[in-house]
């Protein structure tokens, strides 16, 4: 066991042990921080995926995205096991809350009756439901691809936007595609909605929700009655009936049927995405550990040096013990135990330090880092594996030092 000599040798030996513990603790703290924060963020994203109110997503890249959003939504709704389908178009536009000065906002175009049922439990708490938009089925502007008025021009604004611009329910808000106030249209503000805490920064937090066709008309050259407009959406989110939400076979066969409707668009189920996210997380965790293994190697080399140094300074004592006839095994075991004790201390201190660093980031860091740190998860199994790995490797360090202890030449050591 670790037992020091007296006087300055005691202080010297104690300092070495403290340094070795610190080196291993530092090496352990890094993966603790990386893995716990990385794992926490992925777990959060996974939970969001699993808590989403929809199970299948149709998506298409490019300017016009999904070209026939309304008829596609109708087709999907007629499939068995489908509870709701919600096309969503997101476009950055300009708003004019007070006079000619433009404020950029993210406009989300949705079909009000489809949007509500595809919200997950966390999101749905943020919206007044049903959405207080005067055109619930989005039929006023849009009817099978043709423009039909008159529009209700209703808009919901995000609460951060409402707060910042003093726009209130019952008031009006000018929205336009360009920062020219002359081209803007006046909307009635019919309510506000919350912004999930994970949406960061003014671009995400300043948002408006309008009927899908209103946004399509605005971005597809509005104010042109009776002219066909491009029926674009970025995604169509599809919710299955409640009895099938946790039935992967129903979801996957539905996914296949939707895919056969739109062979040229991406159709994925969230469980597929979850699987992809999980494997991406596993790769990332492996990468973090590989990265940390550099630090761990340095820590273990340091531990080996300290143990060798201890053996060297205990040369005489080891020689005496062996001269008396103490078995080599028990001398070697004592050296190995020293290494294991140092490594265990280092692992415990490192895990504690990693935990404190994450707590500190969650308390004092800025925005994104703080958000991520707050999501950190400390998985006991992972921490135990990490500590076990470090202690296991310390056996190698101990074995090297023990070997050198057993190689001490007695006649030399006792001169």
């Amino acid at each position: 066991m670790i037992r020091f000599g007296r006087g300055h040798r005691l202080r010297h030996a104690r300092l070495q042990v403290i340094l070795a513990v610190a080196a291993i603790a530092t090496a352990v703290a890094l993966p603790v921080v990386l893995v716990s924060v990385g794992g926490g963020v992925s777990a959060h994203e996974l939970a969001m995926l699993q808590n989403a109110g929809y199970q299948i997503v149709v998506s298409a890249a490019g300017l016009h995205g999904i070209a026939h959003a309304h008829p596609l939504t109708e087709q999907i709704l007629s499939l068995p096991s489908v509870a709701a389908a919600s096309p969503v178009l997101s476009i950055a536009i300009d708003s004019f809350p007070a006079g000619p000065g433009a404020t950029p906002v993210l406009a989300e175009g949705v079909i009000p009756v489809g949007f509500g049922p595809t919200l997950g439990p966390e999101e749905s708490g943020l919206f007044p439901l049903p959405l207080p938009l005067g055109d619930p089925t989005d039929a006023v502007h849009f009817d099978n691809g043709s423009y039909r008025g008159p529009a209700t021009y209703d808009v919901l604004v995000s609460s951060p936007f409402a707060e910042a611009t003093r726009v209130t329910t019952g008031g009006h808000l000018l929205l336009g595609l360009t920062n020219e106030v002359s081209g803007a249209i006046s909307y009635n503000v019919t309510g506000t909605f919350g912004v999930p805490p994970t949406v960061l920064g003014p671009v995400g937090a300043f948002a408006v929700l309008v009927p899908l066709s209103d946004l399509q008309v605005m971005t597809g050259f509005a104010n042109a009655p009776h002219v066909p407009v491009p029926d674009a959406a970025d995604t169509v989110e599809v919710a299955v009936v409640p009895s099938a939400t946790s039935n992967p076979e129903v979801i996957s066969s539905l996914r296949d049927r939707v895919q056969s409707l739109v062979p040229y668009y991406g159709v994925s189920s969230l469980s597929q995405e979850a699987t992809q996210l999980q494997s991406a997380t596993a790769v990332l965790t492996g990468f973090y550990l590989a990265l940390s293994s550099v630090g761990l190697s340095v820590g273990l080399v340091f531990l080996t040096l300290v143990l060798l140094r201890r053996v060297e300074s205990e040369r005489r004592s080891i020689g005496i013990r062996r001269a008396i006839g103490e078995p080599g095994g028990s001398i070697a075991a004592a050296v190995v135990v020293d290494g294991v004790v140092i490594a265990s201390l280092g692992a415990v201190v490192g895990i504690a330090a990693g935990y404190l660093v994450v707590e500190g980031l969650a308390t004092w860091a800025h925005s994104t880092v703080q958000e991520a740190a707050r999501l950190a998860e400390f998985v006991p199994l992972t921490l135990t594996e990490l500590a076990g790995g470090v202690v296991g490797l310390s056996l190698v360090a101990g074995a090297l030092a023990a070997r050198s202890a057993l190689r001490i030449d007695l006649a030399e050591a006792l001169r």
Binding site: R3, G5, G325, E326, G328
Partner: protein
């Protein structure tokens, strides 16, 4: 505890050369033939550097000869495995080293307990025996002192107590009274002789002190790595 067994010691043409073939090669022993019977009390004298400590180390299986054989009871032990020689040392040999060699991090009593601990003697037993041995060498009350808190003579007496711990059949003492005054020298010699007489242990004792050497029954003189005189008392 087992009864001590004193082996018949034989050295046949033993040489020991340190750093052979190098510029600083030292031929510490140059061919020693010697037999020591169980229960003998032999003194070993000779000038500094003549090879006395080297000889004790070989007899006590701490070191192996460069050539020749070291035998215990007719068995050649020079080439045995480390582990086996360690076991033989632990059970059979009590060393009193020239420089005491106490462990600085252990108390006097813990130093005396060391060989018993290695042999697996239960804690209570070995503590009691260690205290007894320390009082036999006149150190009762000093059990908890660390070596650096002891005088040279006291350290030497702790070393004697430690050598006796496992009741060895072979006592190898390298100037065990070098640091002691007359009274303590007398006490230690009486103790060693008593152990030898009571248990039939063999005692091989290096000394420069003629009055100490006089108490032995056989007087060996070593010069330049060779035994030059071997005198038995009638």
């Amino acid at each position: 505890m087992k009864e001590p067994h004193a082996p018949t010691l034989e050295l046949l043409g033993v040489t020991r050369t340190f750093d052979p073939g190098e510029a600083d090669e030292v031929r510490a022993l140059r061919g020693v033939d010697l037999t020591v019977a169980p229960g003998e009390f032999a003194s070993l004298e000779g000038p500094s550097g003549c090879g006395k400590t080297t000889l004790l180390n070989l007899v006590g299986l701490l070191d192996a000869p460069t050539s020749g054989e070291v035998r215990w009871d007719g068995r050649s032990l020079g080439g045995r495995k480390d582990r086996e020689r360690a076991r033989l040392r632990l059970e059979g040999v009590g060393f009193i080293f020239q420089r005491f060699y106490l462990l600085p991090a252990l108390t006097a009593r813990e130093n005396v307990e060391l060989p018993m601990r290695a042999l697996g003697v239960p804690r209570g037993d070995r503590q009691a025996r260690a205290s007894d041995l320390l009082s036999e060498v006149g150190l009762s009350g000093r059990e908890r002192a660390f070596p650096h808190q002891l005088s040279g003579g006291e350290e030497q007496r702790v070393a004697v107590a430690r050598a006796l711990a496992n009741r060895p059949g072979l006592l190898l003492a390298d100037e065990p009274t070098g640091e002691l005054d007359r009274v303590n020298t007398e006490g230690i010699l009486t103790l060693l002789e008593k152990v030898r007489a009571d248990r039939g242990a063999t005692l091989l004792l290096v000394t420069h002190n003629p009055s100490v050497a006089r108490r032995a029954h056989r007087h060996l003189t070593l010069e330049d790595g060779r035994v030059t005189a071997d005198v038995r008392e009638a």
